[in-house]
Amino acid sequence: MAQMLGLFKEEEAEAAANATEALERAGYSNEHFEVLTGSPYPEGAFGEREVKHKLYVFPFMGALLGLSVALLLTSATQMAYPLIVGGKPILSMPAMTIIAYEGTMLGAILFTVMGIFFESRLPNPSPGIYDPRITAGYIGITLTVSDDRVNAVDQLFRRAGAADVVIQR
């Protein structure tokens, strides 16, 4: 098996889109290839598959956990040293609300960041084929092909207008 990366110039985004279409015609669905860019392009610009994620669940989970911990900490702290001040209840709701609010938000933020890393599949110690020209504006299309199809895909990329094709066996 070989990993291939077709590189298209920044100003030839259309050529990259044409290459993905050609790949689909050659029998590779958008499950097989991946488009690499140095900046975010509008979703689906290159015919890549729709990205599905569950990031929105993370802040809710974090918020719930943060709220629970904050309520537990504040109420347990007051119950552990039950000093009645001015005849007021042991549990001071306004003060608890403030700390519970901060706890909720902290939990939501921490879980969101964890969610971002999880859903982005980062950190990724073996990211696969890559070329530094991607961050210089080139658009890359990667896919893994069997050795006997390397030449065909190479030709396909070049016919579509690729500036270079990188092959890693």
């Binding site: 920044e10 991946e34 488009v35 690499l36 860019t37 140095g38 900046s39 975010p40 392009y41 509008p42 979703e43 890549e48 598959r49 990205v51 994620h53 990031l55 929105y56 802040p59 504040t74 702290t77 007051q78 552990a80 040293y81 001040v85 001071s92 003060a95 608890m96 403030i98 700390i99 609010y101 901060e102 706890g103 938000m105 902290l106 939501a108 933020i109 921490l110 969101t112 960041v113 971002i116 890393f117 859903e119 982005s120 599949r121 980062l122 950190p123 990724n124 110690p125 073996s126 990211p127 696969g128 890559y130 530094p132 991607i134 961050t135 210089a136 504006g137």
Partner: protein
């Protein structure tokens, strides 16, 4: 007004990573100077802690001096970043792109510096954790959660954690750009920090969603932080000038005014220092000036309401405090300078397009707003305590000592030092955001003219 110039990605990389890849000689000169100031200030702090807080000008009844003024000031500056970045991101304002990172980084560093002030002010910093969260298992004593001195650290901790993570998440794609342009040990370090980023559609999608989601989460936190800082004062029943219900929104909008002004100053400095004229353009400064007119006028409303309601109550204590602030030496000249610098001079000026488009005038006028806003905090904190009250037996006026003044100077130097250090390690303008703006930028033909147009971000 659009002055966009579409630049190829290699040029964007070269321009915005200029300082990261090879810093000019002047950069090291400034770093050395700021480092010297910070070292001198640190020595003075060590001396103060060794000899005791009596070396400061704090004296009964004014036990909160310019260190606490500076604490509130830097908390205020920290509101620039997330507020600006979050609101502009959520509203999809196109001109946000060069401003967001600088604003977020300013938030992080000013918040760190703000948190240092009460630590020094406490006199015994090694006990600060115990005082903030005194879980004393050996003696069975627990935190008094009714105290705002416990609310404050929890709010600052949440805000600092959130803002730092916000910056880190948005830095990952730019780490990959630096990784691809460095060799040797620097390449290895940036490779670790880029975490295997390749720029797949999934990674970009998550990056964009993360920007919106974290903005939405940090907005309510930023409002809570300065509200809680204001409650450090507002829940004090014994100090009339502090015990005000309007303090929370008044502090928040004051913080936004000083914070956004600081971002304008910083962006102009970045434009001058790094030659980023193609990225920080007239339109960005002009739009920020328009925003500041609105924020400043909102702040004036709260200032006015706070003052008028204090007088309207006809309570002798309140009236005595206002007399102290507005008519008594040495506070009255400070009050005059404060109101002129915070509002009367800059805001009417910014109504004129010619002024908003003049970068030099914008630099100085945004700078003076912060001088004024620093004085505002001084006039709230010091005269509030300086009044002779019924139970005050030991009374004296407050004069900041040399050490306190130097700590304030050191705080400025430290923020600049940290910002410049950041600028050496990471780009202060998000590269991917600028590139995305170029991709979304377009031109349409209307009749005989080609006019700039923008596709809306999805």
């Amino acid at each position: 007004m659009q002055q966009r110039v579409a630049l190829p990605h290699p040029q964007i990389n070269a321009d915005l990573l200029k300082n990261v890849l090879k810093a000019p000689a002047w950069y090291w000169g400034i770093m050395a100077f700021l480092g010297g100031v910070v070292i001198f200030g640190s020595v003075l702090v060590a001396y103060l802690l060794n000899k005791g807080f009596g070396l400061s000008g704090a004296h009964r009844p004014v036990m909160w001096g310019i260190l606490i003024v500076d604490f509130v000031f830097w908390i205020g500056i920290s509101h620039a970043g997330v507020m600006l970045s979050a609101i502009l991101r959520l509203s999809k304002a196109e001109w946000r792109r060069p401003a967001t990172r600088a604003a977020e980084v300013l938030t992080v560093f000013s918040l760190m510096i703000a948190a240092l002030h009460p630590v020094v002010h406490a006199g015994r910093p090694w006990r600060i954790i115990y005082w903030s969260f005194p879980y004393d298992f050996s003696r069975g004593l627990w935190v008094n959660i009714r105290s705002p001195l416990v609310w404050d650290p929890s709010a600052i901790f949440t805000y600092l954690t959130g803002s730092t993570l916000f910056v880190i998440v948005a830095l990952i794609p730019d780490m990959a750009v630096i990784r691809d342009r460095t060799t040797g040990i620097r390449h290895n370090i940036y490779s670790v920090m880029a975490m295997g980023w390749r720029g797949t559609p999934r990674q970009w999608k998550l990056q964009v969603v993360a920007g919106f989601l974290l903005s939405a989460l940090l907005l309510p936190v930023f409002v809570s932080v300065h509200s809680i800082v204001s409650w450090d004062f507002a829940v004090m029943i014994g100090v009339e000038g502090y015990h005000v219900t309007i303090f929370a929104p008044y502090f928040v909008i004051g913080a936004v005014l000083s914070g956004v002004s600081a971002v304008v100053t910083m962006m102009i400095l970045m434009k001058w220092m790094f030659g980023w004229g193609n990225y920080i353009r007239q339109e960005h400064i002009e739009n920020l000036a328009k925003l500041l007119v609105v924020i400043g006028t909102g702040w004036l409303y709260f200032f006015f309401v706070e003052f008028i309601f204090a007088l309207y109550s006809l309570e002798s204590q309140e009236i005595a405090l206002r007399e102290l602030q507005a008519f008594t030496w040495p506070y009255w000249p400070l009050a005059l300078v404060f109101i002129f610098l915070s509002y009367i001079i800059p805001i009417p000026m910014w109504m004129f397009p010619g002024v908003r488009r003049n970068i030099r005038i914008m630099f100085w006028s945004s700078l003076v707003v912060n001088v004024g806003m620093w004085l505002e905090r001084f006039l709230i904190i010091v005269p509030g305590l300086a009044r002779k009250q019924v139970w005050t037996f030991d009374w004296s006026t407050y004069h900041p000592s040399f050490i306190e003044v130097m700590i304030v100077v050191t705080a400025y130097a430290l923020v600049f030092l940290l910002l410049l250090t950041f600028a050496k390690l990471f780009p202060l303008i998000p590269l991917f955001d600028i590139k995305e703006g170029d991709i979304l930028g377009d031109e349409i033909v209307i009749g005989k003219r080609r006019v700039p147009a923008l596709r809306v971000e999805e």
